[in-house]
Symmetry: C2
Subunit: 123 residues, 2 copies
């Protein structure tokens, strides 16, 4: 069966579109605050693991393997809902946090904002 662009954009079938590296972007947001927590990438294995377990999994590009967010820190992300965009090459994960999302200890990886050409705390 051939799926057209229209099927992908308006249909009811989940058909994720991976890039040349087999990845799509996944944006984790906090279910409570609605803040964007982090952006990471998923391959098909990570999408399946996330949907099957209810915990966010990504593909580590540096380590070249499946990575469960929080596997070493314990700061897992429990996924309440997954949204997909029009062309199905990006996901939004609505999550409950078990701790800070960022490895620096910040709640969100987006803890700085641009001001006057430099960076200042976003808070």
């Amino acid at each position: 069966m051939t799926m057209s662009s229209d099927d992908r954009e308006t249909g009811a079938t989940f058909m994720p579109k991976y890039d040349a590296n087999g990845l799509l972007a996944a944006i984790a947001i906090d279910a409570a605050s609605r803040d964007v927590l982090m952006l990471a990438y998923m391959d098909a294995e990570a999408v399946t693991a996330t949907l099957d377990t209810g915990f966010a999994h990504f593909h580590s590009r540096s380590r070249g393997r499946l990575w469960k967010k929080g596997e070493s820190s314990g700061h897992v992300l429990r996924v309440i809902e997954v949204r997909v965009d029009c062309d199905q090459d990006a996901l939004v994960l609505i999550c409950e946090r078990a701790g800070p999302a960022c490895h620096t200890g910040a709640t969100s990886c987006f803890y700085r904002r641009i001001e006057g050409g430099g960076l200042v705390p976003a808070g």
Copy 2:
């Protein structure tokens, strides 16, 4: 001057990290609802155009050129604040919308959620 990973992660200098294609990911969110509106990619030209004009610009991968969001539809995104993540390879744009963000007419590109293996309206 050499910038270390620590400088990039905790410093006050904006030094965006582009991928092999010269791009970074930019997540546009709605300043009022906090909803994620869209994900697109920026090259250095698009970052500069966005910061200089206060309107979201991206790099169109399909057309290979700078693209001002809403340039044909009028549905521009006025950028109130730009946040950067820990490793500076992703941005969050906090925006005021002039119309729907999605070319399908939906307010957000993320208008469907996964349920039971298929897609249903996210609403």
